[in-house]
């Protein structure tokens, strides 16, 4: 695509991110500044920053892509991504802030005083962080390929390097300003083009999203075939195509179904209950996204920057509103994508719908190109902000739990700023290498798997740790190993293993429905069996977690 505004827009976003980062660097002086912004960030800034960090490639590109492909059943992704903050608010936000822990491993130490558990938590933080970082970098590669025609590797490398440099140099204080800026940029970048697209759709006489005779091309379109496949036209006739073949379609021609590209058609798309995994898959997805958010390391680390528990609660409520506001938009793109960019249903690259829709609807005039550039800039903001947050938290635990340990300060001791920078480099390098080598999946699906792992490991740890006195270190470790381990296994089989069929496929593709109850059950059972190991100071800890600050105990 030939758009003179895209590259400048992406460069501008990247430079602005770096500039705000360096502005923050001037303010960041101590290790505490680096890690938790010295806990002086106001709730409004903090809420926008959490929103900015949370709305990743999966939200910005992936959700719209999934809706374009599968329809109503995947609306549970945005609903769950938002509802996760409600679960976080109800069960975790205020007590977690009051615990005074910096990171999840810190929480293990505060509540259960176990070094072993701390190490286990560190391993899971790093795994979840990397699993979540890879699709961000993939999204960056896809975006650069789609909007500039540049190589896939360049986008992944660009975002990887910029984010690693920014985190290593500025730490989290800088990141807080960056993230807050990114939230509003992302909202604008989707909302403004969406308004134009909807107005144009109105002016077109509202072409139906599921026309009775099947989808048709709105304009003359050329599709290049990637894989050998069979095209099926709505009238039932079929045609074999080979890779490299160019298919030209006239405006008004029906959109053929391509074998090998998994999409929901017409009524399946419009009506619920046609998900591959059926009801099990839907409930599994709900469980993973509702309970997974509280276990995401980059979300949790933000709560330590609230001044107190009550502020943490209010911040979470604002985040819920901000995130909910944002999620109206991807649905709109996914739905109108069926009308204006049906060729994506043939290639399967539906993640690109947000990027392509403005030009597809408004034409390649100045307006269309400007809006396309805005969306591309927003997408880059999404990759930069999510990756920064993830990298900060992964680097945080690596520097405090791995490097500090190696340099003999003992775990839990704050490492030096230099340790943090080294950790940021290590934490950034691994996902870049993975993103360049792992076959690409739908970004939202990989992110969904990260949610499932978080929901099966840290969610039970946090909920039971905060509300149940009898939790023991052995119980917590056993629960994390059983539930989290099972979820990690399912993720590895999904990404690396052979394709599965039937019930096994549903259980592995959406594992949360069995791994989350498993984690809770094992955690409770082992804790009851090792009752003697209940920490003696559990009463003091409970008081600290739940007593309101106004008492000033």
């Amino acid at each position: 695509m030939d758009n003179p505004y895209t590259v400048p827009a992406i460069v501008a976003v990247t430079l602005a991110t770096l500039a705000i980062g360096f502005y923050g660097l001037k303010l960041a002086r101590t290790t505490s500044d680096f890690l938790v912004a010295s806990r002086v960030v106001s709730p409004t800034w903090n809420a926008a920053a959490i929103g900015g960090e949370y709305l990743s490639a999966a939200s910005f590109l992936g959700v719209a892509g999934l809706i374009l492909k599968y329809g109503v059943d995947v609306l549970w992704y945005p609903v769950g991504f938002a509802a996760g903050y409600l679960a976080l608010l109800l069960f975790v936000a205020a007590p977690l802030r009051r615990s005074g822990a910096f990171t999840l491993p810190d929480f293990c130490e505060v509540r259960l005083h176990s070094r072993g558990l701390r190490k286990l938590a560190t391993a899971f933080v790093v795994f979840i962080g990397w699993l979540y970082l890879v699709p961000q970098l993939q999204g960056a590669g896809l975006t650069l390929t789609t909007v500039t025609g540049g190589p896939y590797e360049l986008g992944a490398l660009l975002v990887g390097v910029v984010v690693t440099a920014n985190v290593a140099l500025g730490g989290m204080r800088a990141i807080t300003f960056v993230q807050a800026f990114q939230y509003w940029l992302k909202l604008t970048a989707l909302a403004v083009p969406a308004m134009f697209v909807v107005l144009h759709w109105q002016a077109d006489g509202r072409p139906p999203v599921t026309p009775p005779d099947g989808l048709t091309f709105p304009a003359a379109t050329t599709v290049v075939v990637d894989h050998p496949a069979t095209l099926t036209l709505p009238d039932g006739s079929t045609r074999e195509v080979r890779p490299g073949e160019e298919l030209a379609f006239q405006a008004g021609e029906p959109v053929p179904h391509v074998s090998g590209v998994d999409t929901a058609r017409d009524l399946d798309w419009l009506l619920p209950g046609n998900d591959a995994g059926g009801l099990f898959g839907t409930y599994s997805l709900i469980l993973a996204t509702f309970l997974g958010t509280m276990g995401l390391p980059h979300v949790l680390v933000r709560f330590y920057t609230n001044p107190n528990g009550a502020a943490a609660r209010r911040t979470t409520l604002v985040v819920l509103a901000l995130v909910g506001l944002f999620y109206f938009l991807p649905t709109l793109y996914g739905v109108l994508g069926r009308v204006y960019t049906p060729q994506l249903l043939m290639t399967g690259e539906t993640d690109a719908v947000v990027l392509l829709l403005p030009v597809a609807v408004l034409g390649s005039g100045v307006l269309g190109q400007l809006l396309a550039a805005l969306v591309a800039a927003g997408a880059f903001a999404a990759f930069l902000s999510s990756s920064s947050g993830l990298l900060t938290s992964v680097a945080g635990v690596i520097s405090t739990d791995v490097l500090a340990h190696a340099s003999d300060r003992g775990p839990g001791q704050r490492g030096s700023v230099r340790d943090f920078r080294v950790a940021a480099l290590v934490a950034g390098l691994v996902p870049v290498v993975l993103a360049l080598n792992v076959a690409s999946l739908d970004v939202s699906q990989v992110v969904g798997l990260a949610f499932a792992v978080a929901a099966s490991s840290f969610c039970p740890l946090l909920v039971l740790g905060i509300w149940w006195r009898r939790l023991t270190d052995l119980g917590a470790a056993a629960g994390i190993l059983a539930g989290g381990g099972a979820a990690v296994g399912a993720v590895l089989v999904t990404i690396l293993g052979p394709p599965l069929h039937g019930w096994a496929a549903a259980m592995i593709a959406q594992p949360a429905a069995w791994t989350v109850p498993l984690a809770f059950a094992v955690m409770v059972a082992v804790s009851l069996a090792t009752r003697r190991r209940t920490p003696p100071d559990v009463g003091t800890t409970m008081l600290r977690l739940h007593a309101p600050e106004s008492l000033r105990l």
């Binding site: 109503v72 609306l75 549970w76 609903v79 938002a82 509802a83 903050y85 409600l86 679960a87 608010l89 109800l90 069960f91 205020a94 419009l270 009506l271 619920p272 209950g273 009801l279 839907t282 409930y283 709900i286 009550a310 609660r313 209010r314 979470t316 409520l317 819920l320 509103a321 909910g324 506001l325 999620y327 109206f328 649905t331 509300w467 009463g539 003091t540 409970m542 008081l543 739940h546 007593a547 309101p548 106004s550 008492l551 105990l553």
Partner: protein, 130 residues
């Protein structure tokens, strides 16, 4: 401490000051009971934790019924998903639009009620029954 004086130089009545001292001592006593984990303090904290957990669980049930029952509803009674509101079918309206204000409303109710629980707890600690 500076003695407040009236116009003619005589010291004002000091009972208010004394009353304050007494109240603070009471307050300190309950705070000590909390921090030292006496039975009274322990019971107070347990009560607070139980109240907050009950509130969180109650609101979770609201969400579980309000949102969690939808897939089951659409599966058991498929006709509900063909109902149209303003030309959009019901599942799209509920999930694409309605879910988000619903979540924010539940969250708002939680923040309000949780803060009220904490105020109740603070009130008990500050003004203990004699």
């Amino acid at each position: 401490m500076e003695q407040p004086t009236s116009g003619d130089g005589a010291p004002q009545r000091t009972r208010i000051v004394l009353a304050e001292v007494v109240r603070r001592r009471d307050h300190d006593r309950v705070r000590a009971e909390l921090t030292e984990q006496t039975q009274v303090g322990e019971a107070l904290v347990r009560g607070l934790v139980r109240a907050q957990l009950a509130l969180a669980l109650r609101l979770s049930v609201v969400v579980a019924i309000g949102l969690g029952a939808l897939p089951l509803l659409f599966a058991v009674a498929p006709t509900t998903s063909t109902v149209k509101i303003f030309g959009i079918s019901l599942p799209w309206v509920l999930l694409g639009i309605g879910a988000f204000p619903f979540l924010v409303a539940v969250g708002w109710a939680y923040v309000y009620l949780a803060e009220r629980n904490e105020q109740d707890f603070t009130a008990v600690v500050r003004r203990p029954e004699r």
